[in-house]
Amino acid sequence: MQEKILEIMNTVLENRTKEKLTSVTPEMHLRNDIGFDSLDLAELTVRIEAEYDIDIFEDGIVNTVGEILEKLETK
């Protein structure tokens, strides 16, 4: 699942002509480490929803890669 999330995140980054990631770890912060802004987070949630049918931001903002994985695993 981590691989798939990496792929989705890289699509978002590539679309913004930002630098791609080589790997992700659960403790990575979406804004501070990966550099997502609110537009990127909005796109990320749509792309994850298309893949897993879960809106990761439905209950408020998530901050780290680990929190996303948690949401997807508990569903």
Partner: protein
């Protein structure tokens, strides 16, 4: 220390004394204002008021082609001019500045650009009276400390700026900062007032700390949902939460504690309702290049709760404008920009609801070359339109979906 502006993103900590010295020492004025540094924008607005000249606000992220479309050029140095000696402000202190500001400005106007319904952004100008209409200057407001959470070149930001400025308050920038920094700024500066879009608040929540200094929270633009409202009350236990209805054309018109808006008696004759759509009288509007009728149709559909006194609730917007985190995007403008790219036969821009931004921009594209990819379209658009207008999801289709009447479907 008497702070005028703190902006950690631009490394600015400006006192009122510094501002006054800086204004006194400025000898050149340019009516075009385009800067990512909030201080430059605010100083230029104040200077324009003191010398009674027009100011034209441009978003700092406008692309070159947007600037040329809007103003006819993209380099404004030729508009630099010396401030006449007789007009030079020569301020002695903050009190004199505030006095001059509230008594100034016969010719002054402030011009902004807003998404027009035709696809081309339109120019809207306001005079001092229409900008200051909703500013409340009072002793009670003297000690307010504002968290500044809007773009400074948009109407909402301008209104917050004037509320803070005319009361001599401190302005602390929050817009565009990380969540952690936003909370640090609220705490360290004892911010009392915040006005922002629902998206701004949504990105702050949930949070496990409380900030008792905040007395007032204002939100406008999109609708606030119940969950955000509850989480806000937990983080800001002493804050009164208010919704406002505002537009670039008319500024703030109504405020409410919940989703029912009431009209102040003095405005009742300036509000009209036709077929459940809200019309406002032209005397409440800023001036635009196009002539407007006596009544301006806001495109907002409302539901009347009581007739006397007039109370109503907003149901939806009839217009096709898409609200992306508080920014209005005109799908026609985006479609026009995409159609200028080579290899695109047709395009339809539409919105999709989104838990982060309220709505996001999507599009369907009919391409005539398989060289064209989602990322190539997006990269090309970066030089044509502002980032928030660029579609986040692009689908390639053989033909566009249309409605039965042959119109392109938006939703």
């Amino acid at each position: 220390m008497n702070i005028f502006l703190k902006d950690i993103d631009n490394d600015r900590l400006v006192t009122w004394d510094f501002l006054i010295d800086d204004i006194n020492n400025t000898s050149i004025y340019n009516p075009y204002c385009k800067s990512a540094d909030y201080y430059n924008v605010f100083k230029q607005i104040i200077l324009s008021l003191l010398i009674d000249e027009e100011i034209i606000l441009l978003d700092s992220d406008f692309t070159e082609s947007e600037l040329i479309n809007l103003t006819g050029c993209s380099d404004y140095t030729e508009f630099n001019k010396h401030i006449e000696k007789s007009k030079a402000p020569n301020l002695s202190d903050k009190r004199e500045l505030l006095e001059k500001l509230s008594n100034s400005s016969k010719n002054w106007k402030i011009t902004m650009f807003t998404s027009g319904t035709t696809g081309i952004p339109k120019k809207v100008s306001h005079n001092f009276k229409s900008i200051a209409r909703f500013v409340k200057v009072s002793e009670r407001n003297e000690k307010s400390i504002w968290g500044f959470a809007y773009n400074p070149t948009h109407m909402a930001g301008i209104q917050v700026f004037f509320q803070a400025l005319l009361n001599g308050n401190s302005i602390i920038r929050l817009f565009g900062l990380d969540t952690k920094d936003i909370y640090t700024e609220i705490k360290n500066n004892g911010i009392t007032h915040i006005s922002a879009t629902p998206t701004f608040y949504r990105l702050l929540l949930p949070y496990n700390e409380t900030f008792p200094s905040v007395e007032r929270i204002t939100s406008g633009g999109e609708k606030f949902n119940e969950k955000t409202f509850k989480q806000l009350n937990q983080v800001f236990p002493n804050a009164k939460v208010t919704n406002v209805y505002a537009s670039t054309e008319a500024g703030t018109l109504f405020a409410s504690q919940n989703d029912i808006f009431s009209v102040r008696p003095e405005y009742e004759s300036l509000i009209n309702i036709e077929n459940n759509e809200l019309l406002i009288h032209s005397s409440l509007m800023g001036s635009t290049e196009t002539n407007i009728d006596e009544w301006y149709n806001t495109g907002d559909v409302i539901e009347i709760v009581s007739k006397k006194p007039l109370k109503f609730r907003f149901v939806n917007r009839k217009s096709e404008m898409i609200n992306v985190g508080g920014y209005k995007v005109n799908p026609l403008e985006v479609e026009e920009a995409i159609l200028t790219l080579t290899g695109i036969n047709n395009v339809r821009v539409y919105s999709k609801s989104n838990s982060v931004l309220g709505n996001i921009i999507c599009c369907e594209v009919v391409a005539n070359s398989n060289q064209i990819t989602e990322s190539s379209i997006r990269a090309l658009l970066q030089s044509k339109i502002q980032e928030f207008k660029i579609p986040r999801i692009i689908r390639f289709v053989d033909e566009l979906s249309t409605t039965r009447t042959g119109k392109l479907k938006r939703n």
